[in-house]
């Protein structure tokens, strides 16, 4: 049940802006046990030249993954079986760190669709821009929808 190749190159409309709050960044950093003050103390962030607290580098994934999930993974036309999806790999390119006060919008693009040993492999790119339209980061996510009868260990 390979996915339709005609979806390669499909670009979804930009998401409504996500407003990044100081307390959300704090919550995220604390969930990692990461006590770097640049995530929680605006003064510490300013000392490094940032206008406000910045977010840990992988915070951006929470925004891009939500965008990809809502638009691509749940696209009924694409027909991906989410119950069998695992995160295959993840890469980010950063123009600047995410910071409190950002309003971030994600444009999701399907970069490739492959079928390997019955597994569907979907590569989704998320371009993240701020309110001014400036590029903040790009997320490259590969999702693997395991074949119905495959063992997890085999696909990893």
């Amino acid at each position: 049940m390979a996915l339709d190749q005609s979806f390669v190159g499909r670009t979804y409309p930009p998401t409504a802006a996500y407003e990044v709050g100081r307390e959300k960044i704090r919550e995220f950093a604390e969930s990692l046990g990461d006590t770097n003050p640049v995530y929680t103390d605006p003064e510490a962030a300013r000392a490094l030249g940032y206008p406000d607290v910045i977010a840990p580098p992988t915070f951006i994934f929470t925004i891009t993954f939500k965008a990809a999930g809502k638009q691509v993974v749940e696209d009924p036309q694409l027909g991906l079986d989410y119950s069998r999806v695992v995160h295959g790999d993840q890469r980010f390119e950063y123009t600047r760190p995410v910071r409190a006060g950002d309003h971030l919008s994600v444009t999701s693009i399907i970069d490739s669709i492959k079928s390997l040993a019955g597994n569907d492999i979907l590569s989704v790119r998320g371009e993240v821009h701020d309110k001014a339209g400036d590029h903040v980061a790009t997320s490259f996510t590969t999702l693997v929808a395991r074949a119905a009868d495959a063992e997890v260990e085999e696909s990893r």
């Binding site: 959300k24 919550e27 490094l48 910045i54 580098p57 993954f65 069998r84 997890v152």
Partner: protein
């Protein structure tokens, strides 16, 4: 702009970032699920995880990825110094329901000096849990001072 603590000039190919240990338990995963918005039950519901063929509850891949980033950003001194960062999730970090949870060991090594002008280096990151490599092709590009 970067205010990395490490100077490009003092770093050589082979420079190592010491191995660090991170302990993760079920409560950490619940906290991360809430903070990240990823509530997939394979990260907190043992019954569900086993039903889909996993040995037990597993850590979010992005959780392990975040801890691996931390090893690099704390070394560099400025999380904003990260230019590029990617990993492959090769094996799940299995988190048992006991008071110990799982141990993840993470270290890194400078494997290339990429650009003298941009002052960027590449680090290869090693991450293991229970003797197994949990991240593959884990690489970061960092802009140094």
């Amino acid at each position: 702009m970067t205010t990395a603590r490490i100077s490009y000039d003092t770093v050589e190919v082979g420079t190592e970032v010491p191995m660090r240990e991170f302990r993760v338990n079920r409560a950490d995963l619940v906290r991360y699920a809430g903070a990240s918005g990823d509530f997939n039950p394979i990260h907190w519901n043992e019954k569900f995880a086993k039903e889909v063929g996993l040995p037990d509850v597993i850590a979010h891949g992005a959780y392990t990825m975040a801890q691996a980033a931390r090893v690099v950003t704390e070394w560099a001194g400025d999380p904003g110094a990260l230019v590029e960062y990617g990993v492959r999730f090769t094996r799940p970090v299995v988190v048992p329901n006991d008071d110990k949870g799982a141990l993840i060991e993470i270290g890194a090594k400078v494997t290339a000096k990429l650009d003298d002008e941009a002052r960027t280096v590449r680090l290869d990151i090693m991450a293991t849990s229970a003797g197994q490599k949990v991240l593959g092709r884990a690489r970061a590009v960092v802009r140094l001072a």
